[in-house]
């Protein structure tokens, strides 16, 4: 039985490190858990469950304290994004009609709507990649953009992406990689060197996408349903991260089709599929 306990402990240690926990902390947690099980006279697997799942639970418990979701005590900061009467047409087809939205620092805005309702287009307009057909778009500060998919080089590794995005903001390679790894750990991901993006799972690619969007510490974050392919734990981590950004004073705009998180958002913009005019 001693062997099984040690093996379980080793699995727990590895799983925790994979989720971005510091190796020293992971080792301590594994040792303590095994000791607790031994003193209770129960096998670790029976007391805590499979090591990999237990690691996930511990990782979630070790995240910085969750924000209460109540409005920030201080007044929201400067206006980062202002949309007034924004419309977008492609020929005769009207994709967006009269969208209004104001996002200030320390606020989260959710853009909801069914498929084809122009959510991604709206986000692209906020990012400056597409020009609105009419209406007013104003924006301040550094912006980070996380598209729904794509925007990655398939044959580069995650670390190389950190270096690339970092260097184009003036970060040194070392700092970019360090920042990237730190941001990844908040999404329970430890990027492995030498693994190409094309070999990453969908959920992990999306985590990379999110990290690349925030690596330069933007004031405004624009995210287009970035949690596709996330397991439940990662989905929770992601929203935890969204409110983390908010509490740190950034503005966040998230396109989502899931209603669950809306009660904590400061603004909700609902887009409907318009019949073309």
């Amino acid at each position: 039985m001693r062997d099984h306990a040690d093996e379980w402990a080793r699995h727990l240690d590895e799983a925790l490190v994979d989720l971005g926990i510091q190796p020293a902390v992971a080792q301590r947690l594994a040792a303590e858990s095994v000791e607790e099980a031994r003193v209770s006279g129960v096998a670790p697997r029976d007391l805590f469950g499979p090591a990999v799942l237990y690691a996930r639970q511990l990782q979630g418990a070790l995240l910085p304290a969750e924000s209460t979701g109540s409005p920030t005590a201080s007044a929201p900061g400067r206006t980062l994004l202002q949309l007034r009467g924004v419309t977008k047409r492609y020929g005769r087809r009207s994709v967006l009609r009269g969208v209004d939205l104001t996002v200030r620092a320390g606020e989260v805005a959710a853009i909801v709507g069914s498929n084809g309702s122009g959510k991604s287009t709206l986000l692209r307009i906020c990012a400056g990649l597409t020009r609105a057909s009419s209406g007013e778009v104003r924006r301040a500060g550094r912006v980070g953009y996380v598209p729904q998919d794509g925007g990655l080089a398939e044959l580069l590794t995650a670390h190389e992406h950190f270096m690339l995005f970092g260097a184009l903001q003036g970060m040194s390679a070392g700092r970019a990689v360090c920042t990237g790894e730190q941001l990844a750990s908040r999404l329970a991901w430890r990027p492995t060197r030498d693994v190409l993006v094309q070999h990453l799972s969908g959920g992990t690619r999306q985590k990379l996408n999110v990290v690349l969007g925030e690596i330069h510490r933007p004031d405004l974050l624009l995210l287009d349903e970035p949690y596709q392919g996330f397991d439940h734990g990662s989905y929770v981590d992601f929203w935890h991260q969204v409110y983390g950004w908010r509490d740190a004073g950034a503005g966040v705009v998230v396109v989502t089709h899931l209603m669950h998180e809306l009660d904590r958002a400061d603004h909700v913009v609902e887009l409907t599929t318009g019949a073309g005019e």
Partner: protein, 125 residues
């Protein structure tokens, strides 16, 4: 009779339960599991309970210490910190409000505009 408590119901209140148990007296992991079971809340798995304790510890509400148990090996004991004491009172108050609200709805004592409650009351408690 063993009541079947859906795990999800307990999930939101596990922290409150643990803090309350620790307010009563300090304890170790298995001891807390035992006491929850005795209270009729079913058998909480270690995989759920221990991370909750880790969370409470990282939030500063609970402090842990190692003690050599009677049989020899060390055992991790948890006790409420000063911050923990302050927060448990607050959380208990909020629980009471919540409980009263649910009870009122469940026993049909809410009188809305349409007088829903009055007509469908299931009798006084």
């Amino acid at each position: 009779m063993e009541r079947q408590v859906p795990q999800q119901w307990l999930h939101g209140f596990l922290d409150l339960c643990l803090l309350s148990l620790l307010e009563e007296r300090r304890d170790y992991g298995l001891g807390l599991i035992q006491r929850l079971e005795e209270a009729g809340l079913g058998s909480v798995p270690g995989g759920t309970l221990y991370p909750a304790l880790v969370r409470l510890e990282s939030q500063g509400y609970v402090s842990a210490s190692w003690e050599t148990s009677v049989s020899g090996p060390r055992r991790k004991y948890f006790s409420l910190s000063a911050t923990g004491r302050a927060t448990v009172a607050d959380q208990q108050r909020r629980w009471h409000d919540f409980r009263d609200g649910i009870e009122a709805v469940v026993s049909g004592q809410v009188t809305g505009v349409g007088g829903i409650g009055a007509g469908h009351g299931r009798g006084a408690k």
